[in-house]
C-alpha cells in the first residue's frame, strides 16, 4: 500500500449507544503507513472509532472508508486488518502456540504455515520459551506480548492496538513498546492510547479526540494551532519585559507567549537590562497540548 494514500477516512461519523453519543461527527484521515496515534481521555471515543474501522459498529451518520470500502458492507473482509483490543482476545485454556495457530486458521492460513509464522513472531518478540505454556498461566506482561504476537503474526495492511500497555508495569510496558516499535517498521499501525509519552515515542502522526470529535491532528512535534513559545532564563530568575516583571516558574525559567521573531525578542530583553543565560524556543509537550484541549469539565 502506498504511504501517500489514506488507509481510512472518517467523514462526519456519528455513533450513538442509546442516549450516549460516542462519536459525534468525527472527521479523520489515517495515512497509509507509519504509526498513527489516536489519543483521548477515557470515553473520548477511541475504541468506538476502532470498532467502526473493523465494521463492529454501524455509524448512524456520515461515511467511513477503509481501504476504499465501507466496513459495514456485507462482503467487506477483515483480512487486511489485525486488531488487538484492550482485552487480549486469547483463549486462556489454550497454549500460546495453539492460540496463534487457531487464529491463523481463522484467517485462512494453513496449519504448517501457521506453525512457521508463529515460531517466527514469538522469536521476534522474545517469548519463544512460552510457546507451549497455557495463556492462563502467563503473567500479565507475557500475556500482552503473546497477544501482540497474535496481532502481528500475519501480514496485515493495518494493525490496530487498543491500549496495548495498559495494566502493565513500567518495565513490561517498555518491552511492549519496543516490540511495537520493531514490528511497526513496515506497516501502518493505529495506536489508541491515553499514555502520552508512549504516543510521543512511537507515533509519526497523532489525532487527539475529545467527546467523539478530532480536536487536533498532525505529527506530535508540529501540532497546528500550537505556536512555539520562548524559554528565557536569567541570572536573577525574573525578567522585565514590556513593562512587566515576570517571575520564574519552579524550574527557574520564564515562558514567553510572544508571536514576534525570537531574535527581536532576545534583543529587546537584553536592551531592557535582563542578563539572559538561556534563550530558546519552547515547544509545548504533547501532554501539555492534550491537557489544554481535553482537560475541561465533562
Amino acid at each position: 500500500m502506498s504511504s501517500d494514500r489514506a488507509a481510512a477516512a472518517f467523514c462526519g461519523i456519528t455513533v450513538s449507544y442509546g442516549g450516549v453519543t460516542a462519536l459525534n461527527g468525527m472527521d479523520l484521515e489515517i495515512p497509509g503507513l507509519g504509526v498513527f496515534g489516536l489519543l483521548g481521555r477515557n470515553g473520548a471515543g477511541k475504541t468506538t472509532a476502532i470498532r467502526a474501522l473493523v465494521g463492529l459498529v454501524k455509524p448512524s451518520a456520515g461515511s467511513l472508508e477503509v481501504f476504499g470500502r465501507d466496513p459495514g458492507d456485507a462482503g467487506w473482509s477483515r483480512d487486511r486488518i489485525s486488531v488487538l483490543f484492550a482485552e487480549d482476545g486469547l483463549v486462556p485454556s489454550l497454549t500460546v502456540e495453539e492460540n496463534l495457530s487457531v487464529w491463523a486458521g481463522l484467517c485462512g492460513t494453513g496449519r504448517r504455515e501457521a506453525s512457521i509464522l508463529a515460531g517466527a513472531v514469538l522469536a521476534d518478540i522474545g517469548i519463544s520459551q512460552y510457546a507451549a505454556v497455557r495463556v492462563k498461566e502467563l503473567s500479565t506482561g507475557n500475556r500482552r506480548l503473546a497477544a501482540l504476537a497474535r496481532t502481528f503474526m500475519l501480514p496485515a495492511d493495518m494493525v490496530i492496538l487498543d491500549e496495548p500497555t495498559s495494566s502493565l508495569d513500567p518495565v513490561r510496558a517498555d518491552e511492549v513498546r519496543r516490540a511495537i516499535g520493531r514490528l511497526a517498521e513496515s506497516r501502518l499501525v493505529l495506536l489508541s492510547t491515553h499514555n502520552l509519552p508512549e504516543a510521543e515515542e512511537l507515533c509519526d502522526t497523532v489525532a487527539i479526540i475529545d467527546r467523539g470529535r478530532v480536536v487536533i491532528s498532525g505529527p506530535p512535534g508540529e501540532l497546528e494551532g500550537m505556536p512555539d513559545r520562548l524559554l528565557v532564563r536569567t541570572e536573577s530568575g525574573s525578567i522585565v519585559f514590556r513593562g512587566e516583571t515576570l517571575e520564574p516558574s519552579e524550574d527557574g525559567c520564564v515562558i514567553l507567549d510572544c508571536a514576534d521573531a525570537p531574535a527581536d525578542v532576545l534583543a529587546e530583553l537584553v536592551a531592557l537590562g535582563n542578563r539572559v543565560t538561556e534563550f530558546r524556543t519552547y515547544r509545548k509537550s504533547l501532554s501539555g497540548i492534550f491537557l489544554e484541549l481535553t482537560g475541561g469539565d465533562r
Binding site: 477483515r78 482485552e87 486458521g105
Partner: protein, 241 residues
C-alpha cells in the same frame, strides 16, 4: 468452517481437562451407556435412551459457544477476524452436533457389544435406524437451541441454567403429555392418529413427524443466522454484543 471447528475442539479439550474427561466418561459412557439402558430390561426402551444422549451432550456444548466467548472476553477479537457469519455459525453449530452424535453412537455401539457378550436381546435394524435418526434430530435440536440460549446469555452459567429449564420442559413434556393429555383425548382421535402411523416408515404419521422436525430445525437455523449476523453490530441500547 473447518478452522472454527478446530478452534471449538481445542477449546473444548483444553477447557475440560482430565477431571472433566473422567466426569464425561462416567456420565455418558457408564451411566447412559450401561447402567441406565441395562436397568430398563427392554431392548426398545434401552435404545431410545441413546436417541436422547445427543440432546444432553450437544446442548451444553452449544451454550458455551457464544456465552463462553463473552465470558472469556474473546468474542470481539473473534468477530474482528476474517471469518464470515455463516462460517462462524456453521462451525459453532456443527461441533456440538457432531460431538453429540459421536458420543451417542459410540455409547450405543459399546452397549450393543456388551449386550452380545451378556447374551441379551439384540436390536433389529428397524430399531437402530429410528434411534440413529432420532439421535441426529436431538443433536441438531440440542445444538441449535443451545446456540439460541448462548447468544442471549451473559455468562455460561446463566446459559446452562436456561438450557436446563428448556431441557427439563422437553424431557418432562413428553411423559406428561402421555400421562395426562393422551388419556383425555377422545378414542376416535387416538385411533385416527394411530392409523396415520400404519405402514411404518412410509406412513403419513412418520412423514408428518419428519416434516415437523425439519421445519422446527429450519426455523431455529434461520433465526440463528439473523442473530449471529447481529453480533457484528453492537446492541445500541446497552453498548453490548
Amino acid at each position: 468452517m473447518g478452522a472454527v471447528l478446530r478452534r471449538e475442539w481445542l477449546c473444548f479439550l483444553s477447557g475440560m481437562g482430565r477431571p472433566g474427561l473422567i466426569r464425561f466418561v462416567a456420565i455418558y459412557f457408564v451411566v447412559f451407556g450401561f447402567v441406565l439402558p441395562g436397568s430398563l430390561g427392554d431392548v426398545t426402551a434401552a435404545y431410545v435412551v441413546f436417541a436422547f444422549v445427543p440432546l444432553y451432550v450437544a446442548g451444553p456444548l452449544a451454550v458455551d459457544a457464544f456465552a463462553g466467548e463473552r465470558e472469556r472476553e474473546t468474542l470481539e477479537t473473534l468477530l474482528s477476524s476474517p471469518v464470515t457469519p455463516r462460517k462462524l455459525l456453521g462451525g459453532k453449530a456443527l461441533f456440538p452436533l457432531l460431538f453429540g452424535l459421536f458420543t451417542s453412537w459410540s455409547v450405543m455401539g459399546l452397549f450393543t457389544v456388551w449386550s452380545a457378550i451378556k447374551g441379551w436381546e439384540m436390536p433389529g435394524i428397524g430399531l437402530l435406524i429410528p434411534v440413529m435418526a432420532g439421535g441426529l434430530f436431538t443433536a441438531v435440536l440440542g445444538s441449535l437451541t443451545g446456540l439460541h440460549v448462548s447468544l442471549r446469555a451473559k455468562s455460561v452459567r446463566s446459559g446452562q441454567q436456561w438450557f436446563s429449564i428448556a431441557l427439563l420442559a422437553m424431557v418432562l413434556g413428553i411423559p406428561m403429555f402421555a400421562r395426562f393429555i393422551l388419556p383425555r383425548l377422545p378414542s376416535g382421535v387416538l385411533v385416527s392418529v394411530g392409523d396415520l402411523f400404519r405402514g411404518g416408515w412410509g406412513s403419513a404419521g412418520v412423514l408428518f413427524l419428519e416434516a415437523g422436525a425439519l421445519l422446527s430445525c429450519t426455523v431455529l437455523w434461520l433465526t440463528l443466522r439473523g442473530r449471529v449476523g447481529g453480533l457484528w453490530r453492537l446492541n445500541a441500547a446497552k453498548g453490548e454484543r
